[in-house]
């Protein structure tokens, strides 16, 4: 397999894929990457320099004509690590509001704990600054809605970190699905399994909630907002709809260590027309890893794997069919009474690769290049904000369904 490592390779490969008009008309957000950029230097600030923030920094620092002029983090070890990585020219702040007040920047990248996303995004947009905010959008439906209203009022760019939208393997699969290779999609199954406690080392007990914020309800909704929202966004994109309703259940059945968020979740989302997304996630077994299985009457795709299986593959050449036929006649056991029931065994074929190229990341690098490019061109793409918004709302109602133990419907009138 070849590897794609940067925007140029991505655009080149995408242009080959875009031989189909369906691909371009169905993916307007890619056009920004295809159009040439000016040399204007983009000045950027970063809010949140934890592990995700540092990863984004590693990607951003390689983008030409981009200056990371300031950063913000209120945790001293992260602040010092960021200052060292960004160099003395980058000004550091402990309060993001100070940074927004004092700095002249085009955009901010927000990679803070979930409960901080809403107010930080809204303040930045109100200050006339473009925003890239990590997923999920926010912790409540109301906060998500407020962010979208602020975005609409500002006329600025708002990206939510749903990087699979920029993963070329997913784009190719999306194209094939839209061309009807699987037939109408009748079901999507997705799962994300790990086997670890999801904890980070804490230097002193009073920092437990600050460091391990993912485990506590005041800061995060755990597996739903940190993992599930990626696959839920993909399901929305494939169905080109938002779910009508969701039901599910979750619990803490293994990591009983004082955490408040579920360590396993199981949900069923119902989409218009009666198709479903079946989702589960747990952190006490990693055997199956993560996957998104898209199923239709003509075939199945595994998007993380990048593979496809046709339900009815083209027949083998006549000579091979004849050899197989004779082999079966000679060596197969013939049932005396005749088989009245044939077991529905799983298809054992190895499947076909969706494409013979692979990204060196999951789409994050291309997503950041797209964000910077859009900032430079002042190009607002509603699709990306919409995907982040709808993906987050679906994630939040899934959590609500599990907490209240009842079918939860899409909030009435909530649309972009």
């Amino acid at each position: 397999m070849e590897r794609i490592i940067n925007r140029r390779d991505f655009v080149k490969t995408f242009s080959i894929l875009a031989g189909s008009s369906v691909l371009l008309s169905g993916m307007p957000w890619i056009r920004g990457l295809q159009a040439a950029d000016s040399d204007r230097v983009v000045r950027l600030g970063m809010i949140g320099m934890g592990s995700r923030g540092m990863l984004l920094h590693l990607i951003l620092k390689d983008i030409p004509n981009l200056e990371i002029s300031c950063f913000c983090d209120d945790y001293q070890p992260h602040f010092e690590r960021a200052q060292q990585a960004l160099g003395p020219a980058a000004r550091g702040y402990y309060d993001y509001r100070d940074m927004l007040d004092k700095e002249t920047i085009d955009a901010v990248v927000i990679a803070t704990p979930l409960h901080e996303h809403a107010h930080q995004t809204i303040d930045a947009l109100n200050a006339g600054i473009h925003v890239f905010c990590e997923k999920a959008m926010a912790k409540t439906v109301e906060d998500c809605d407020d962010m979208v209203r602020a975005w609409l009022d500002s006329g600025k760019i708002l990206y939510i970190g749903q990087q699979r939208i920029f993963n070329i393997k997913y784009l190719k699969a999306y194209q094939m699905i839209k061309e009807g290779k699987l037939g109408p999609i009748t079901q999507i199954r997705a799962y994300w399994h790990r086997n670890n406690d999801w904890r980070r080392p804490v230097p002193s007990p009073e920092l437990e909630r600050k460091i391990n914020w993912r485990l506590y309800n005041d800061y995060s909704l755990g597996l739903m907002t940190e993992l599930a929202c990626h696959h839920i966004q993909i399901a929305n994109q494939i169905y080109d709809e938002v779910p009508e309703c969701v039901w599910g259940t979750g619990s803490i059945n293994y990591w009983k260590d004082g955490r408040e968020v579920f360590d396993n979740v199981n949900l069923v989302y119902k989409y218009p027309g009666g198709s479903h997304l079946i989702y589960d996630s747990l952190i006490s077994n990693k055997h199956y890893g993560l996957e998104v299985q898209v199923q239709g009457p003509k075939g199945t795709m595994e998007l993380e794997n990048g593979k496809m299986w046709e339900e009815f593959p083209p027949p083998a050449p006549g000579i091979l069919s004849l050899i197989n036929h004779l082999e079966k006649q000679l060596f197969d056991v013939v049932p005396i009474g005749g088989a009245s029931w044939v077991p529905d065994d799983a298809i054992s074929r190895k499947g076909d690769w969706i494409m013979d190229k692979v990204l060196d990341d999951d789409g994050t690098r291309i997503q950041m290049e797209s964000f910077v490019s859009d900032v430079r061109k002042n190009r607002v793409d509603p699709f990306l904000t919409k995907q982040g918004f709808y993906g987050s709302i679906a994630t939040l109602i899934g959590h609500e369904a599990m907490i209240n133990n009842e079918i939860t419907y899409w909030p009435k009138g909530l649309a972009l």
């Binding site: 050449p317 006549g318 000579i319 050899i323």
Partner: protein, 76 residues
């Protein structure tokens, strides 16, 4: 230790005919497959590699039968 052996022109001719017969058999096998499974006629050409593999298989098979036949004749 090793002694020289001679393959006569007649033996060579026989082997060539056996090989040709094996090829003809494999080719007919391909035609039967195409008719039985309603495959496109172009497989007469595209599946020639399988026909050649089958030819070798048939040739080895006839070799085994001929060896057994020779051994039996020597014994009795």
């Amino acid at each position: 230790m090793f002694k020289d052996t001679v393959i006569t022109a007649n033996q060579k001719k026989t082997e060539a005919w056996v090989l040709l017969a094996c090829f003809a058999g494999a080719f007919i096998f391909n035609i039967v497959g195409i008719i039985k499974f309603q495959s496109p006629a172009i497989e007469l050409i595209t599946q020639l590699h399988i026909v050649l593999i089958l030819t070798v298989f048939f040739y080895i098979l006839t070799g085994i039968f001929r060896l057994i036949y020779t051994l039996i004749r020597k014994i009795f």
